[in-house]
Amino acid sequence: MDNVKIAIAKGRTADETIKLLTNAGIEFADYSKNSRKLIFKDTSNQVEMILVKSGDVAIYVEKGAADIGIVGKDILLEEDADVFEVLNLEFGKCRMCVCGRKDFELSYNRKLIVASKYPRIAKNYFDSKGIHCEVIKLNGSVELAPIIGLADVIVDIVESGKTLKENQLEILKEICDISTRLIVNKVSLKTKSRSIKPLISKLGDVTQKGVPA
């Protein structure tokens, strides 16, 4: 059997991802939350897992440095990755939204300033609506932008809406639903199909049963 390299995102969804893999029978004995290690071998020695920043999962898989990746749909949309997106893993669910102050009113007379960690998604969305906008790329605490006056609105993922509420912002428009996806390199699926196909179906089965939280 071919060895399979799987890239997973550090942070928010890492624990759930590990749980999912464990349920599918892929166990990483030396993984622990606080470890600084970035590469792990599974107990069967068939699967190697690398931990990367969530925004980088797609490029690792697209370039074939990893065969498989587990990453949020937000990253896939933003990176416009050329990969196979074979499964919706149904966790890490949230929504991509346009948010702003309660009293925000859209004016077609001047250009809209949008702040976002997701400039491509933001631009594509407003372009598709025919709204002229300028996107400012931010790296975090995006909620500040409309409050301080850096931008009119923000485009960001909303999970519970708590952060928005605490900053007196609200959802103005929902762009799309986001959840974690299983992606596969376009060549690996064909050249390592004997290892990868069973892995996909196992992960599919586990997902359908639902991952115990």
């Binding site: 697209e62 990969v83 997106e85 050249t191």
Partner: protein, 418 residues
């Protein structure tokens, strides 16, 4: 302050010495394979009018073309694709003829790809184009040459993935009248995104039996024995049936070439270069994450230039091929070297040049230089992979072996004869 003159633009490279020789040897192998199948070399211009590419049915993303403006105010592009200019040549120069045309080219391709993704914006492509043959034998020959090209370069663990654009194309034309929706469906199939495809199809008013067929196509990939029977069963219109027959025929011919085991099928894959009309294919090498070669049949392309010449061809990314070959083959066999360095005192200069000419006439690589500091010169000779030094000092010729190559005798012979 960073000075741009000291930097290379993103996505290009310089290549010299051993690395260049290594690439050149691979390129020569590729050209030799093409030549042995009767293909003849063609050169097309490095830059063309943007209109050549813009007005083609389908084609390359305009944003990815490297453009500049000619002094006359026309927008020009650096060759973003090799097939279209070759097709124009075949259509224009051979408009009154009907014999087979078999061309090959090696040419740099330029693409203004997204920054900071490690993509090459200039890469060498080699390829063949076979015109005026609409038969599956032509498709199979082109694919077989692709396989032979990899084999001749020592690549063994690879697969050729075959698809047929008309299979999915004709189904969608029948099932979904809206072109935008068709594009969306194709892109979901292309990314094998079954769940989102299902969701999308449910929103459209497409007949249920079509929906199921479209969904099935996502999973129609793998070895021919598994894929082809299912695909045949799912073929609901004449064009789909013809498409799958076409796949079978090409596969049978490839079997006769002895290349059956390299073939897999994927009826859900398309190509962003949508001038393809029939068989399309990609070549994958084990543990290399990108398609190394791709091609297919494009029967309509020449019609843009007023002639109908059905055709099939493929291109191989030579940069990728070099990457793949270098993982299994060392550069030693092509390492650059010099046989002899002749160091002379000024009064022996004429003699030194005579010796070097005699060595060169025997096919040996010979360099000359004035004798200065012999220790320093030996050291530098070692670094440059010079094998022997011939020293002419006070009319005495002696050899200093830098890297023993057992050829020292040549000198004595030449000296005797001279």
């Amino acid at each position: 302050m960073v000075q741009l003159k000291n930097l290379l633009p993103e996505g290009v490279e310089t290549l010299y010495g051993d690395e260049y020789a290594f690439k050149d040897e691979i390129l020569n192998n590729v050209k030799e394979t093409f030549r042995l199948f009767g293909y003849r070399q063609i050169l097309t211009p490095t830059f063309e009018y943007l209109d050549l590419y813009k007005e083609m049915s389908g084609g390359i993303n305009l944003k990815q073309m490297v453009k500049f403006i000619s002094p006359q105010g026309d927008i020009m592009v650096l060759r973003p694709d090799a097939t279209i200019p070759v097709a124009r040549m075949a259509a224009k120069n051979y408009r009154d003829r009907d014999e087979y045309l078999k061309f090959f080219y090696t040419a740099p391709i330029f693409r203004q790809l997204e920054a900071q993704k490690g993509d090459e914006r200039e890469f060498l492509q080699a390829g063949i184009e076979f015109f005026a043959n609409p038969n599956p034998t032509c498709d199979a020959e082109v694919i077989a040459i692709g396989i032979k090209t990899l084999l001749d370069n020592g690549v063994k663990d690879f697969r050729i993935d075959l698809g047929q654009v008309d299979y999915l194309g004709s189904l969608l034309e029948e099932a979904e009248p809206d072109e935008q929706a068709r594009k969306r469906i194709i892109s979901l199939i292309e990314s094998k995104n079954q769940q989102e495809l299902k969701y999308y199809l449910d929103q459209r008013t497409i007949a249920t039996h079509y929906k199921q067929l479209i969904l099935n196509i996502i999973t129609m990939y793998g070895i021919p024995e598994e894929v082809l029977p299912i695909a045949k069963e799912c073929a609901v219109n004449t064009r789909m049936k013809e498409a799958i027959n076409n796949c079978e025929q090409v596969y049978q011919i490839l079997d006769d070439y002895g290349y059956k085991d390299y073939i897999i099928f994927d009826l859900g894959f398309t190509n962003p270069l949508n001038y393809y009309t029939g068989i399309i294919f990609k070549g994958y090498v084990a543990n290399f994450g990108k398609a190394i070669l791709q091609g297919g049949r494009y029967d309509q392309l020449t019609q843009n230039f007023g002639t109908y010449k059905p055709a099939c061809g493929f291109g191989i990314n030579v940069n990728y091929l070099v990457e793949v070959v270098s993982t299994s083959k060392s550069m030693e066999s092509v390492a650059c070297y010099t046989d002899y360095l002749i160091l002379y005192e000024i009064k022996n200069r004429k003699q030194a040049f005579e010796i070097s000419q005699q060595l060169q006439s025997k096919g040996l690589i010979a360099e000359t230089d004035e004798l200065k500091n012999i220790e320093k010169q030996i050291k530098s000779a070692k670094r440059r992979n010079i094998r022997d030094i011939i020293k002419i000092e006070k009319d005495i010729i002696e050899t200093v072996s830098v890297i023993q190559n057992g050829k020292v005798n040549d000198i004595e012979e030449i000296w005797k004869n001279g």
